[in-house]
Symmetry: none
Subunit: 414 residues, 2 copies
């Protein structure tokens, strides 16, 4: 029997178009992974009657209702009060939640006030899920054979609650079929090119193994899902399919499942016990940011020089000013000098350098907006490659950064 879920998002900000609802897609993916199907996504206003009606309609349609938003401490947030009315359960103070809120505030050196105490009120007899990242807890309410869960709408609070509390609860409560996933992460080839390369393989997949293309910036994640009963058997089947797939796309695969390219790069640095430095022009700090987002990066990343002017390229990285004059700052020779320069200055084993036109202005006839030179250096050698990455500034920055990390990965593994 299929387990059905409805996601209800509460709050005017989605309905006036101030924010795009990215939460629901993420939740739907996570639910899918454990074999629960999202039947409907409903966004409603911060209005009591409207919320009550949507709860009633959802209850008639599905087994599980996941509710996000409307849990802030201000008076336009009425989700909790309305749930209390819907389930006819009074609100009571929960000491555990109160202590968590106190702890959270003490980390910022602040005392809590009456408004925050209100955040510790929960529906009587509900399942309380502690929110480590904010003041609104997750609340689970069982009604007959149905489960309702209310969570805050702030994406990282909701995601942490889903992973820590909601998904484990759903797995326990519902006997879902066994579904196992394997995601192959690629970088550098568009969806339609990958589809073309692997179409014969895709056509021979057995019906209980599904393939999903999940596009991301400059890359595609290929998610294989096998559905059945026996986990070991499914694992073996997935492994066989993966082994057939791998040779077709080997040159663009960088990792698996929840890995990220920056984490893969740091893992290689760790294994080799090497240090990295970065010289960024057009990427403006984004490569450094991707790397330093990973905890533990400080052991393998010495630092970076963001050389947004030619003066900084010359003074801080040792780029030759006559080469800039002759070949312009967006050139192979400058990229290579930047990479060599930052590697030496920051006393590192490897270096990345980027120089290009992120747009929307700038660029030349030879090197229009989107032209980016990337160089990778070690003590022994320096390589470089030119990319053409479109004309959207943010996309150029992101794609150049990911291509640079992909180049470094291959360079280090050679």
């Amino acid at each position: 029997m299929e387990i059905l879920c409805e996601i209800i998002t509460i709050g005017d900000e989605i309905l006036i178009g101030q924010i795009v609802d990215t939460n629901s897609a993420w939740m739907a993916q996570e639910l899918n992974k454990i074999g629960i199907k999202v039947k409907q996504i409903t966004s409603v206003t911060d209005d009591r009657i409207h919320i009550l009606n949507s709860l009633k309609e959802a209850e008639s349609r599905v087994d599980i209702v996941l509710i996000t938003g409307g849990l802030g401490p201000t008076k336009d947030d009425i989700t909790k009060k309305t749930l209390s009315e819907y389930f006819n359960k009074e609100l009571v103070l929960n000491e555990d939640v109160l202590n968590c809120i106190k702890n959270l505030f003490s980390k910022f050196g602040r005392e809590i006030n009456a408004v925050q105490v209100g955040q510790a009120m929960v529906l009587k007899d509900c399942i309380v899920m502690i929110n480590d990242n904010g003041t609104a807890p997750g609340l689970g309410i069982e009604k007959e054979n149905k489960l309702f869960v209310s969570m805050p709408g702030v994406p990282y609070e909701m995601k942490a609650l889903m992973e820590k509390s909601v998904i484990p609860l759903l797995k326990e409560k519902y006997k879902t079929p066994t579904i196992i996933h394997r995601t192959i992460l690629t970088q550098g080839l568009g969806e339609s090119y990958i589809a073309e390369r692997i179409k014969d393989w895709e056509n021979q997949l057995p019906t209980h193994i599904k393939l999903a293309y999940l596009p991301s910036v400059g890359g595609v994640r290929l998610r294989l899902s096998a559905i059945g009963k026996d986990k070991n058997l499914l694992s073996k089947e997935l492994k066989i399919q993966e082994e057939k797939l791998f040779p077709l796309i080997e040159n663009v695969v960088f990792g698996y499942d929840s890995q990220t390219l920056e984490k893969v790069v740091l893992d290689i640095l760790k294994i080799q016990n090497k240090k990295l430095a970065v010289a960024e022009s057009c990427t403006g700090g984004y490569i450094s940011h991707l790397i330093t987002k990973v905890s533990g990066a400080s052991n393998y990343f010495n630092g970076a020089i963001i050389s947004y002017t030619n003066q900084v390229k010359i003074n801080s990285l040792g780029v030759d000013n006559t080469d800039i004059a002759n070949f312009s700052e967006v050139s192979e020779i400058v990229a290579k000098q930047m990479a060599n320069g930052v590697r030496e200055k920051l006393n590192s084993d490897y270096a990345i350098a980027t120089t290009g036109y992120a747009g929307p202005d700038g660029g030349t006839v030879e090197n229009p907006v989107g032209s980016v030179w990337i160089a990778i250096a070690s003590k022994e050698k320096v390589i470089s490659r030119k990319f053409q990455l479109g004309d959207n500034r943010e996309r150029v920055i992101e794609r150049a950064s990911l291509n640079a990390l992909m180049m470094l990965r291959k360079f280090m593994l050679e």
Copy 2:
């Protein structure tokens, strides 16, 4: 009387989380501008019964139902057939649509086949809206006093149809109220603290002016919406309310409407014709990334030194190694030396420096994870402040970066 609208998106790809529904936010914004309120957004599966039920529910709730998706030529797209059933109107061939499809195909040198002829079938007596970008036309159906419009889900096809046909039709059919918005952007104070500060002001707001709190990382956007008839009068009323609000939160306001903090900072640099440099330790490049995401940043941003090791702080920024030994790298004196150092090295007017423990590891008893020193320097002086920013690595990085930009903004305006 308020005109209410519901958006129904039809198609499995949203419900399995394969794509994020960006259409609805865009449509909601456009509807808002002409004073139509989106009451609900509903995403349903490609399932006949489910679509019929959602149409019935929407009809009971709102005046206008805008439907997107499920109009492709393949057999899983059943929107048109289901609308035909719902309204009890047969499908008939529309010659205008057929000619448009023929024209579209002739541009690619192709003939149309039976599948495309099917795209020219429309509900009898409906309002046909020609789609210049695809084969599925928009269809408007009036039922009693309500209006239903079906559009394709491909974003650029939907947007073109909305702009060319749907919005003009709605404006003509409904006498809509005027709604104007003003958003005040703040940084550095949580939602509950702001709510506490402005509660008396909030309570005195007239009923036709609404306040919404829209939280973001480390900041809150306060959106005022005024509804009525006379645009000029509403503008004046909003201005009066804004002037009453401003003194209450002056120290945390950095801008208005669609501005960003990094853009505001760049605008001040532009007005003053000054150059900025950044020295980042714990923020790892994120401040530089925020600034260089803005097009035109290269005119006012010289660059940055990401000093992720003490060696780089000493060698590239001129930080005193005995001060690091005596006070540790997370200290006021080091932050100030970093700011002064990068300002001089990169020949800039202003500089930002950050040093702290982003976590999850590291930190000391005195300076636990989340402790961040930020310094701002000009030629004349250097200021600094210590922050306590929680224990989530990504949040610490983001909050430290935004606090640094906020400090720089105030410093430059003094």
